[in-house]
């Protein structure tokens, strides 16, 4: 962590020395070269992990391109999971992809957001077999649809459930009770 008292220029110089920052800068340059600079928004590096937001129209191309890219060889889909932000108008649901290049040991986090009334995301099962259950999990918990998935059914919950429990509107406490609020759950 850079010292607070240092001047911005010194901080920048220190950051340039940092190998993680350098790696991220190279990776971002590569991403921009391969897919165009306007594809990625909200590029940041929380705790050293390069994070970028893109669109669901591009995500399949990007992950396929990264997998096939000879230079970076992003050959490992670490994990993917759904998210729900009920307050974000038109971008309520999200998917987060963690990718990893085992050859160069570079990690990358990609995000997409989309409206809750149109929760359709391209499937990654044609690229990574491991995406199969992760997508089923995202479908089970958030109701995200993956057209092209070979077997999109619930995985951890019972099949006759008619809601998607990880969405924020489903509270942990029994919704019919008025004497307890969800706030105190787990206390």
């Amino acid at each position: 962590m850079a010292d607070q008292n240092e001047s911005p220029a010194a901080q920048e110089a220190a950051a340039a020395q940092d190998p993680a920052t350098q790696k991220n800068a190279q990776l971002l340059a590569l991403l921009h070269r391969l897919f165009g600079a306007d594809t990625f928004t909200d590029v940041e590096e929380p705790y050293g992990l390069l994070t970028a937001t893109t669109t669901r129209e591009r995500i399949h191309d990007i992950i396929a391109g990264l997998q096939q890219d000879q230079e970076l060889q992003v050959n490992f889909l670490t994990t993917m999971c759904g998210m729900h932000f009920p307050d974000k108008e038109g971008q309520e649901l999200g998917m987060v992809y963690h990718l990893h290049s085992l050859v160069h040991n570079v990690r990358l986090r990609l995000k997409i957001f989309f409206p809750i009334n149109d929760p359709v995301v391209p499937t990654m099962t044609d690229l990574y077999s491991t995406a199969n259950w992760m997508e089923r999990e995202a479908y089970d918990f958030f109701g995200i649809q993956f057209p092209g998935h070979p077997n999109l059914i619930r995985i951890l919950n019972v099949e006759d459930m008619d809601y998607h429990p990880m969405r924020k509107e489903y509270a942990l406490e029994d919704g019919t009770r008025e004497d307890k609020t969800d706030l105190f759950f787990g206390r």
């Binding site: 705790y47 670490t78 994990t79 999971c81 085992l102 077999s129 995985i155 951890l156 990880m166 942990l172």
Partner: protein
């Protein structure tokens, strides 16, 4: 379309078999064509040989497996949802119950994630203590896995030998934390308490006696004719498929990929220790067994180094906002009382941010993806559970093999139901 995952495909196979069946009484044996007589076999949900609650609906052609559908979720406990309502400390018991064969690794991984989010620096002594406990946990995890593999191939003796050693490891846990199974021994910023003299004494004694037992176990199994006949070339998976399926840990290394989080992204001072990453070649059950055995020796090496070089100093960070003050101070000191109250009631707010941290669990990369919106609980918490990710390859690995091969493959993959379902 993946063979393993299609109920549709299974139904089609059954229907085709029905169509081709001569129009006889359903129980009458089909005399002319055994090849088209498929049996549906429910392996599990609770079968002693599946070591957990998960079901495999297998289509069998005689003794051979034609296809299968894994069904999971029998002990799903909604960890991720519950975690959204709990302050950070109260999530620790949830992590204990994921991979219950090596709960300290889950614990430490979780605390390291929170420390990363909060920016807490852990002192060296606590890091070394964590390394010792995590490696002990890895050993006990592998002991169980390999011991049970012995049982599944018909050798009960090895299991008894190793179970005894696991018991001794649990006694060390008990000295360190007071609990045996759900240890809950880490804290944000370090350890809950220092190693006692008794704990270190027990650890030293165990380190002296264990290698002899382990050697004996290896002598019993490694070149055993009967054992090798049962496990060599059974449930093999290529390195390429394993990577595509997201394998990590011993299962991936058995296929020949030397990916280890401890080396690739060192945490908790793993860069200070010398150890090797054992790899296999074929990715079959025998390789997985051997890789786990070798990892036990490497873990012993790490524990020995950490114990010899255990630094003096504090066993937790000076982080009063997150680390519970000593109980005696709470009775006398107002500041300590306030912090104690705020931590226990979970009133401490975390900074806004998102963090991914992974540790090398008993089964592979155990990742925690934590999104904080600045509240006292995580906004979203996702566990990357290695079992959940690689278990989907299981039916592909056993297709074409016999039922007894399926059993040893399952136990050598070390699928822990608590981690699979979470």
């Amino acid at each position: 379309m993946a063979v393993n995952d299609t109920l549709e495909g299974t139904r089609k196979i059954v229907e085709e078999a029905e169509v081709q069946r001569p129009n006889l009484h359903p129980l009458a044996p089909s005399v002319n064509d055994f090849n088209q007589e498929l049996t549906t076999l429910n392996l599990g949900p609770t079968h002693p040989a599946t070591h957990g609650i998960f079901q495999n609906i297998l289509q069998m052609d005689g003794e051979r497996i034609v296809s299968g559908v894994p069904t999971i979720g029998y002990i799903h406990r909604a960890f991720e949802k519950i975690a959204e309502r709990r302050p950070f400390y109260q999530i620790t018991p949830l992590t204990d119950r994921m991979n219950y064969c090596s709960s300290p690794i889950n614990n430490m991984g979780w605390h390291m994630t929170v420390e990363k989010l909060l920016g807490v620096e852990v002192p060296k002594r606590a890091q070394y203590m964590r390394v010792i406990l995590m490696e002990l946990a890895r050993i006990s995890d592998h002991l169980i896995c390999n011991g049970i593999l012995g049982v599944d191939t018909g050798a009960f003796t090895g299991f008894l030998y190793l179970m005894d050693e696991r018991e001794k490891i649990y006694e060390i846990y008990e000295e360190v934390s007071g609990a045996r199974l759900t240890t809950n021994m880490g804290r944000v910023g370090g350890m809950e308490r220092d190693f006692t003299d008794v704990a270190i004494e027990k650890l030293r004694t165990w380190l002296k006696t264990f290698p002899a037992v382990m050697s004996e176990f290896e002598k019993m199994f490694n070149r055993n004719r009967i054992f090798m006949d049962r496990v060599v070339d059974v449930g093999a998976i290529s390195a390429e498929r394993a990577l595509n399926y997201g394998f990590t840990g011993p299962n991936l290394r058995a296929a020949g990929v030397d990916y280890d989080v401890r080396v690739m992204n060192p945490y908790s001072s793993y860069q200070d220790f010398e150890f090797e990453i054992p790899v296999g070649t074929k990715g079959d059950t025998y390789d997985r067994f051997m890789v786990r055995n070798e990892e036990i020796w490497q873990s012993l090496r790490i524990i020995n180094q950490a114990l010899e070089n255990l630094p003096q100093g504090p066993y937790h960070a000076d982080a009063p906002h997150y680390y519970l003050p000593p109980k005696q101070a709470v009775y006398k000191n107002m500041e300590a009382l306030i912090y104690h109250f705020k931590i226990v009631m979970g009133e401490i707010e975390a900074p806004v941010g998102e963090v991914y941290h992974s540790v090398e669990g008993g089964n592979g990369e155990l990742g925690f993806y934590l999104v904080s919106d600045g509240g006292r609980t995580p906004y979203r918490l996702h566990f990357r559970r290695p079992c959940f990710i690689y278990y989907q390859a299981y039916t592909e690995m056993v297709t074409g093999q016999t039922l007894s091969d399926a059993i040893v493959t399952l136990s050598s993959m070390n699928v822990i139901a608590g981690e699979l379902d979470a």
